[in-house]
């Protein structure tokens, strides 16, 4: 069994990394779309929408991602629909990501000075126009750094998909460890690959943050 050389282990881990990257990208994009809708509900003038979005955010920020994964994996099956680990991971990560992104973006929207709202209102902009042409473009500039920063959490979050049997980097690590019995090497490599994925994002986020502070 131990004729797995270092290179074969590394090669298999790198092959599995593709799925980590793909799942991260998909979850991030769909989480961003749902998050945007959630943000609009959160800052809207409609009380019911606001309360519903607060409830959603509290729910997904207040429970472990692992629980959400289990619920999607086992829960949807209750409706007679067979759920693959792919779908369950995608759904859970989307909901989880959207809750955090909506909350991050709300902070950005609320940091826009009140004068901007008043000025655009006095120009007879409707609420939608205010959002579209005045508030969101400015909020977007502030939002880039924390959003990139949060993408690191999404990449790390995909590691939990391994628990419901989705074969990505962490699961591949566990499987290789079971075959090779070299946990120290395997998990070091797994950690190293995650680091190689996440560190550039963290670094870029920090740099963007610094640039924003200079502009002020």
């Amino acid at each position: 069994m131990s004729d797995f050389s270092f290179w074969i282990i590394l090669q298999n881990l790198l092959l599995a990394t593709r799925w980590t990257i793909l799942l991260s990208l998909i979850a991030f994009v769909s989480g961003g779309i749902v998050g945007l809708a959630l943000l609009l509900a959160r800052v809207s003038h409609n009380r019911a929408l606001r309360i519903a979005s607060i409830g959603y955010i509290e729910l997904f920020q207040g429970t472990p991602l692992l629980m959400q994964l289990f619920l999607f994996f086992f829960g949807v099956a209750l409706f007679g629909i067979e759920v693959s680990p792919w779908i369950a991971a995608w759904l859970a990560l989307t909901f989880w990501t959207s809750a955090f992104l909506a909350e991050i973006w709300r902070g950005c929207v609320e940091s826009i000075p009140k004068g901007q709202w008043e000025a655009s209102e006095s120009l007879a902009f409707s609420y939608g126009e205010q959002m579209r042409y005045v508030i969101l473009p400015q909020a977007l500039r502030i939002a880039v750094a924390p959003t990139v920063g949060f993408s690191v959490q999404v990449v790390k979050g995909t590691a939990l998909a391994s628990i419901i049997g989705f074969v990505e980097l962490t699961k591949a690590g566990t499987m290789l460890n079971n075959v090779t019995f070299r946990p120290f090497l395997v998990y070091s490599l797994v950690a190293l690959i995650y680091f190689a994925l996440c560190f550039p994002l963290s670094w870029y986020s920090k740099r963007l943050e610094g640039r924003l502070n200079v502009a002020r």
């Binding site: 472990p64 829960g75 690191v152 996440c198």
Partner: protein, 220 residues
């Protein structure tokens, strides 16, 4: 076809839930105290410590913050025994939590320390306070006051993250849920109850931290 929900099947297992809940609470509280301690030491090393300690701390923080908690946990529990360090699942879970929170709180507390105006340090020195006294009574207190909300959210995130320790069979709330659903096959009901318990824990912990914050920093 929707299967009938049946929460009654969970009742005989209430004590399993209770034991898991207590484990999660104890694990969170102990690793929070130790993690904040580690974070304070790390923040000191990054701001007042010798250069080599600062560099070392920085590497530690970056490695932990850019790798998933579950991989850190597996590394400690499965990887370290290869070097002769054998740990029980409880101890491994505790160490992984402390190391994880330590890295995040290092960064948070460091930000608080750097926000303390330099004039306060000079004022402390001019009052003949030692370096340690300046750090302890002037810097640290203000730093904690400033970053307390950020620290509180991180503690809650770490508490929710602790669900992962079930994967090395530390007997926490998630482990209890897995155990029960393997017995009565009521997976959906079990995980709903567990999720609600976690939600209550998060809300309770937030209230507790806010109360502690009010007690320590009366004005803030």
């Amino acid at each position: 076809m929707i299967q009938q929900l049946n929460f009654g099947d969970l009742l005989p297992y209430w004590d399993v839930f209770a034991r898991g809940l207590v484990f999660t609470i104890v694990l969170t509280l102990t690793s929070t105290v130790a993690g904040i301690g580690l974070g304070t030491a790390g923040a000191w090393a990054r701001t007042f410590g010798p250069k080599w300690a600062g560099a070392l701390t920085r590497a530690y923080v970056e490695v932990i913050r850019n790798t998933p908690f579950i991989v850190q946990l597996f590394f400690i529990f499965f990887g370290l025994p290869a070097l002769g360090v054998k740990l029980s699942e409880d101890v491994a879970a505790f160490i992984a939590m402390v190391i994880n929170l330590g890295a995040y709180s290092t960064e948070i507390i460091r930000a608080g320390i750097q926000a303390v105006p330099k004039g306060h340090l000079e004022a402390g020195v001019s009052l003949a306070m030692s370096r340690w006294e300046v750090f302890r009574y002037i810097v640290l207190k203000q730093a904690f006051m400033k970053v307390y909300p950020a620290l509180s959210s991180q503690i809650i995130i770490v508490m929710l993250g602790s669900a992962v320790v079930s994967q090395i069979s530390a007997e926490d709330l998630t482990y209890a849920a897995n155990y029960i659903q393997s017995r009565n096959f009521r997976a959906f009901e079990v995980y709903i109850v567990a999720a609600v318990l976690y939600l209550m824990l998060a809300i309770g912990l937030r209230a507790l931290l806010r109360g502690i914050g009010r007690a320590i920093f009366p004005k803030g």
